[in-house]
Subunit: 216 residues, 4 copies
Amino acid sequence: MNKNIIEELLEQTRVSKRETEKLSQIDEAAITLFAERGFANTSTKAIATKANVSEGTIFKHYKTKEHLLLSILLKFINVMLPVMKKEIFSKLNAQSFPTFESLMRFFILNRLTFVRKNHDVFKVFVKELIYNDALRADLLKAHSGDITRFFYEQFDHYKESGQIKPIENAILMRRFLKVVLMDFIWVFALSEAYQNLNEEEWISQLIDSYLEGIRA
Amino acid sequence: MNKNIIEELLEQTRVSKRETEKLSQIDEAAITLFAERGFANTSTKAIATKANVSEGTIFKHYKTKEHLLLSILLKFINVMLPVMKKEIFSKLNAQSFPTFESLMRFFILNRLTFVRKNHDVFKVFVKELIYNDALRADLLKAHSGDITRFFYEQFDHYKESGQIKPIENAILMRRFLKVVLMDFIWVFALSEAYQNLNEEEWISQLIDSYLEGIRA
Amino acid sequence: MNKNIIEELLEQTRVSKRETEKLSQIDEAAITLFAERGFANTSTKAIATKANVSEGTIFKHYKTKEHLLLSILLKFINVMLPVMKKEIFSKLNAQSFPTFESLMRFFILNRLTFVRKNHDVFKVFVKELIYNDALRADLLKAHSGDITRFFYEQFDHYKESGQIKPIENAILMRRFLKVVLMDFIWVFALSEAYQNLNEEEWISQLIDSYLEGIRA
Amino acid sequence: MNKNIIEELLEQTRVSKRETEKLSQIDEAAITLFAERGFANTSTKAIATKANVSEGTIFKHYKTKEHLLLSILLKFINVMLPVMKKEIFSKLNAQSFPTFESLMRFFILNRLTFVRKNHDVFKVFVKELIYNDALRADLLKAHSGDITRFFYEQFDHYKESGQIKPIENAILMRRFLKVVLMDFIWVFALSEAYQNLNEEEWISQLIDSYLEGIRA
DNA sequence: AATGAATGAGCTTTCATTCAT
DNA sequence: CATGAATGAAAGCTCATTCAT
């Protein structure tokens, strides 16, 4: 589970890979089971059975069980990040957000929709990234730059316009992750809270707890 | 991994269990390995080898591998919670904290010291609670009441004295967990940040991000 | 791997089998790999990959992996024996060999040239005949008669002319095989000696060790 | 299948390894099956069944199937060579052999007895050494020196006393191997000839074909 | 209390082969 | 003629656990 695999897989993924019927059955079954029991507690046999496919077929598509996991995670990342960027940038270009709060609201709602649609993959993502130290380190190294850059630019913009305190970007970022990401994780990966979530209220509280403190 | 096991084990644990040489070797080895690779990826053989003990011996002390994990986690909880309570209450009785901030500072420093001393168990705790949905549900059910009650009392106290905003306790609590617990998890379980941590500064920032927002 | 297969295959082979591009790629790849790792340790996938052919194609040409092996071996035998006979008989007819030694020299040089050209197939031949008891028995039964007859005739001839001792043909034959065949096997199948072989000297020693003893 | 394994195993073997009932059942079953079908065509399951042992037990004793093979081969070598040396040297010391022929006769009879007792292991030995190029190379490198040295000394001795021709030792050695070893291989590993072997006659012919040529 | 030999179910992966296109 | 997706049996090996000593 080292960078070689990730890179190797990225290429493999890029070079198309015709989405056969069976292949997506495998992916789907794997995602469901990994989300439920975790990667380590899911046997390839269970995946094959759930996917209505022979075990051999799994290994025709993925060299190892680990490759299957990584393929799922990378597909998630490689969709999540570019789409997010595109959507946000097109909005930003059309008409920039007047307040930092409105940007956040848009951003969170946008991610909320995405994660809601992919909430099983998100669960796998969270679980395995926390369980597997090496995997986490690799993915962080590969992708943290991109995200950080985007946020820093926004922070700078709204600091200039005097909407947020002149705090170091790194700190603003960490607070953001704690407050927002943690809640996504809790709501979608660790609890069943997402099932009857009052979205409006949830978002408002999220933003509030980021922008305002609790001090009277 | 259902409630029966936890209860069964609690009793088993209470009914003493003489800490043999071998037994603590097993515990120590298991904690290290579970922290590194996770419970599911650690074989009893690996534990036995690291503990300089035969595999049979592990099963003389713990009925199953799962019992070993639970024993570790419960020992952690059963030490963590009562000691925390005792220490904090004795302080509270001696001289109550004049400000909410001072209470938090004391509380965080107190937990910091504890987690620093037990940081491998803490890592196991975090990883397994996130990985294993059933285990998480069980432990939450069993122990959340205690903690919640303690916090609510404090919140009420400082709301009365006008130090914190009159926000619902549940929300105050959730924000606290997000801001503080998440950071403990990141610093001690997921990154190597704890190795060169400027404690003073870290605590200050933690408190700040709880008490104050980022809005200018 | 019983006689049926051999016979079945012989017919199949006789009934032509147009040498497609792909087919000879398969044969070549199989020979190389069988020589290197042995039949049992070579997967059809490896053959397909090396031959730049899909796995399915192999089975379009050969009913089973075993058929592929046998086809290779029988092609070898069915070329080796008839050509040898033809070449030697034409020589024998043109002008018979004055000495037994000159016959041997011609014979060995002739085979040497042949094996040198086909040394990978020879390696497969040796390895599989030794590894597979049943195959060995079958081929021996099918072909030993021919060869034996030829040799016996020669022995008789040179015994009459007083050039070799009046030893039983069977014994002369066995000694020949031990001394000559064993060396071919060693030189071409088991060592890398064939790569820098002083042919003249090698042949002389071969003959010497057959004709003369070591007793002073 | 590299030297590391061999060395590793040699040590493992030296450090005793208590011969459990089950262990020798495994060894015995493996030898029989490897001799019959070859290493590559024998499954661990087949070994387990024949040995009346669970598959797991095999792997408790041998890290891999390959280790099992090597253990068998090395046990054979490590018994074969030292015992041979001891027996021959004690004879040589007691009263040296008057003729080279008498030495050979003793030597061959001695080996004959040994191989007869261990003829299945011998078969495995021959088959796998021919099938597996790497294994052959390793074992040759490790053990050829010893044997060569012994023979060269004997050759020198009998050349001095004028009993054998002044031929280069290397050549005498190669002829010996061809004539004698090849026959052992044929008789014990490749044919069923050993079953009704007229020992006296066989040995005489072996020696004769080494000492005398066929030239009239 | 501790061992370590033994188990058998289960694991991931590879295999030769089939078949629709 | 050639492909490559699909198969399911079987491979080697690991696993948590038991039990006689």
